[in-house]
Amino acid sequence: MKPFGYLRATTVQEAVQALAAHPGARCLGGGTNLVDLMKLGVERPGFLVEVNRLPLDTVAELADGSLRVGATVRNSDLAAHPLVRDRYPALSQALLAGASGQLRNAATTGGNLLQRTRCPYFQDVSKPCNKRVPGSGCGARDGTHRDHAVLGHSDHCIATHPSDMAVALAALDARVELYGTEGARSVPVAEFHRLPGDRPELDTVIRPGELITGVVLPAATASLPSAYRKARDRASYAFALASVAAVLHLSDDGTVAQVGLAFGALAHRPWRATRAEEALRGGPATPDAFAHAVDLELRAARPLRDNGYKVGLARGLALDVLTRLATPART
């Protein structure tokens, strides 16, 4: 590991100034991904800004009924928070479906969003990878890509984003709050991560020197029926092969009043299924309508040689979750 300077920042201002003063610096939260990547030689920062001591470790209800989650709230604490379990069950379920108890105790909300792909070519510095070394090629495209993207990938990169949490946040219309030398701004979680295009080295729209300060869960999706379901190679402690987060609110006449649907492990970012949502809104909440809408969304899939199974898997997960949400007695 390359030697690096270190600052224990105690205010957001101090952290942002340190990031500006040390181009290429990284923020250290739980370190569960960053420290691993530093050991692998994938990340080689010359300076770390520790953000664990920033006053961003609380979950607070705002006056408009939304819920603000500080960037350093640990994944385990967020999953266990009574307001999250009560109002945004998909988020709690997604967090608990990810990683292990030890990792969730360390991992932060901001760090979860900024974690890197687990593509084995990205993690192995002896292999070509356009995300790690732009222009070096993609080893996965003609190599081992069973876990890789079926939606929105490019000639340059077929990696997926590994987060479970972010998929639930995308379906719940959450926003990421950012702070940098140019001030504060906020971005929908569904637009925070990028598609790879010809710049796969950029995972997100975060600007150099910007810090994630929190995530806001809106009042509009609070207390609506929501759920997360994940398929993986073993029963626990594995990344998703495909996952689905859904929010579904029915009118008194049984039609779809409000719907949010997002897929995980299918793309370079949580895949907000806007085509499916449009098809469902105002229509009947029936298995046929769900199947029609999900098929409309997954029509855009372009599977690779060895990952075509993901399309059918994601379809089945989505139909199961939507059907269960439409049948409250069974959830």
Partner: protein, 190 residues
């Protein structure tokens, strides 16, 4: 007060790094305070094993995937291989060596013996520290992937075998002693 004269580089360098790459850290390990000048690259696992001669926590994968290095920091179980020691200033670390009180084994240590919950034993300190964390998390009402949706928030979660298996999934046992490990934890959880 201890100090660390050793080099901590992974790159094979044999000289101490410049001051910009080291910081003073004060932390408590098994109730004993230590103030150390630490290479920023030092992870907690290496600090425990190589500087403090606490070899209970084991290095398995060194990437947070096996759980053999599990210790408790401020009462919460974490993978010590992924914790930079410099980030733990002011923290309380508890390792498997700190679980005994005199000659008195921790109830989980006793249960692992009674249930023969190991074969080679390499993963055992991590399993036991992780189980200590599991008991505290369940008592504090933390749910798991195996917890039913009807379980009320904020109340202790009963630990059946399915809960224990799910909550301990971050601790691998390559000998496959899982059935006895689950029984041992269940003995203490009941």
């Amino acid at each position: 007060m201890d100090s660390s004269p050793h080099d901590h580089g992974d790159d094979g360098a044999d000289s101490a790094p410049p001051a910009a790459y080291r910081s003073e850290v004060t932390l408590s390990v098994n109730g004993k305070p230590h103030t150390l000048l630490i290479d920023h690259r030092r992870v907690l696992l290496d600090l425990l094993r190589e500087d403090l001669d606490l070899t209970g926590a084991k290095k398995g994968c060194d990437h947070g995937q096996c759980g053999a290095c599990t210790v408790l920091v401020d009462g919460r179980r974490v993978n010590s291989c992924l914790q930079l020691a410099v980030s733990l200033d002011g923290c309380d670390v508890l390792t498997v060596e700190g679980l005994t009180e005199g000659d008195q084994l921790h109830p989980l240590q006793r249960a692992f013996l009674d249930r023969d919950a190991f074969q080679c034993g390499y993963c055992t300190p991590g399993q036991i520290c992780s189980a200590v964390g599991v008991l505290a998390e369940a008592a504090a009402g933390h749910p798991s992937h195996a917890t039913g949706p009807a379980t009320p928030p904020g109340r202790p979660v009963p630990l059946d075998a399915a809960e224990i298996r799910e909550r301990l999934s971050g601790n691998l046992c390559r000998c496959g002693a899982y059935p006895h490990i689950v029984e041992a934890v269940q003995d203490v959880a009941l």
